[in-house]
Symmetry: C2
Subunit: 255 residues, 2 copies
């Protein structure tokens, strides 16, 4: 039962789950590493519904010049991915971001129409661009860290003119969970410990840095901090703990 799949793993909720864990074996041509499961499938698939879901982490007209500038900076550092595999190898990669975590799986765009079709990822649930969470996650596999550029929209208010603490927590969970799933495969959030250092005005553009602290058996520890884009101002610091889960657990078993 997909309804029993354990809870999310960062914004890319299913990024640690390989397609063969979700779908019958015969629909897959390629066994993929957890790294590959978050890459849009560019190879030919026998699965008839493998059209690409929309990537919400693309530049759009709601982005401020500051947001665009930081995006351009990291995008220029990224690996380029071409059809024939001849892209340039660089340390960073931009991760796609869909409006349901199930879409990260091959055939997920189809499954998402069958299973609770009206559900939407919390961070991508408002259609109006720029109104809530505008963000892109860049990951550096070698250094086991990632950076998210995040622009906080007008619908994320807490106190007048400032971002709600829950919206900041949501982004920290999202970014640390993305990194943990990237490094450790299927995981679920076990703990978030967040220190709020300074209030964040609405419309701010900030960086959310996350790095691997350590992995101990089934536990992946991630640290995170939220800063201004020039990194001179600290808004928030956090630690996060994720626990690896078995495929059985995902499907409702406790084993």
């Amino acid at each position: 039962m997909l309804g029993h799949i354990a809870r999310r793993l960062g914004s890319n909720g299913l990024k640690g789950i390989s397609p063969q864990q979700l779908l019958p074996k015969e629909t897959h041509r390629h066994l993929q590493s957890s790294l590959d499961t978050i890459r849009p499938i560019s190879t030919v698939s026998l699965w008839p519904f493998s059209s690409q879901p929309r990537d919400f982490s693309q530049p759009n007209s709601s982005w401020s010049p500051e947001m665009q500038k930081v995006y351009d900076h990291y995008y220029a550092l990224c690996d380029t991915d071409t059809e024939n595999g001849e892209g340039k190898k660089r340390p960073w990669r931009k991760l796609p971001s869909y409006n349901r975590s199930i879409k990260y799986a091959t055939g997920g765009i189809h499954l998402s129409k069958l299973i609770q079709a009206k559900a939407r990822l919390f961070t991508r649930n408002v259609k109006e661009q720029g109104a809530t969470f505008e963000y892109v996650v860049f990951v550096n596999k070698e250094e086991k860290r990632c950076v998210c550029v995040f622009q906080a929209g007008r619908l994320l208010e807490g106190a007048p003119g400032h971002v709600h603490g829950g919206a900041i927590a949501t982004m920290i969970d999202t970014v640390t969970g993305t990194l943990a799933g990237f490094l450790s495969g299927p995981i679920m959030t076990a703990n978030l410990n967040i220190d709020y250092r300074s209030p964040m005005p609405l419309d701010s553009v900030v960086l959310i840095h996350s790095a691997l602290d350590r992995i101990e058996r089934r536990k992946t520890y991630i640290t995170s901090k939220v800063t201004s884009t020039d990194e001179s101002k600290l808004y928030t610091e956090a630690t996060a703990l994720f626990v690896s889960i078995s495929v059985g657990h995902l499907f409702g078993s406790r084993n």
Copy 2:
């Protein structure tokens, strides 16, 4: 500058801030305790824009029978508030919930049109009833605790079919912040430490219990747990720390 008001204080972001801190003295007829600032003003005011903002924590057609049942249970325990002050005194009170924290202040409904008019409280930013956060907070002043009944809508998804960890964090911040502001006046969140014990399916109705742990000078410590409505299942446990802020701090001063 209202734009410099420090960040939110739970769902009721300005509940600890008395109207006289936001508006010129001459617009106020009554000095009010922090308790009174979160009560809809039923007394006559000279302020010309004191019409009541809409209370989003009223029963509506999106509520499941379980949500309505829990609401009815706590509502029956509530103090009744009448125009002539002859209501029955009971230990619980239902708190109102607006779509901007500034509306808790007298005249706030007017100010909200002047100051960043398009901003909306993060937990009340989607018009469709039932799609995101449906919740009501009941507070027990004598016991220094509160209970929130929360129904998680389809737009709060993390992993398929389950509530995003950030949405749970948002509600914990909201409910613990509401209690802290209720007890300590103007505060801001300093720390949230959240243990996720069990994944929460979408459409769940849960209770968020929050209680005062202790107050040490400017620090208010709150504990919280999220359970099923019969309290047999534990979803989440958390502690929260709030720091009292001065009016000067709210308006941009560090003193």
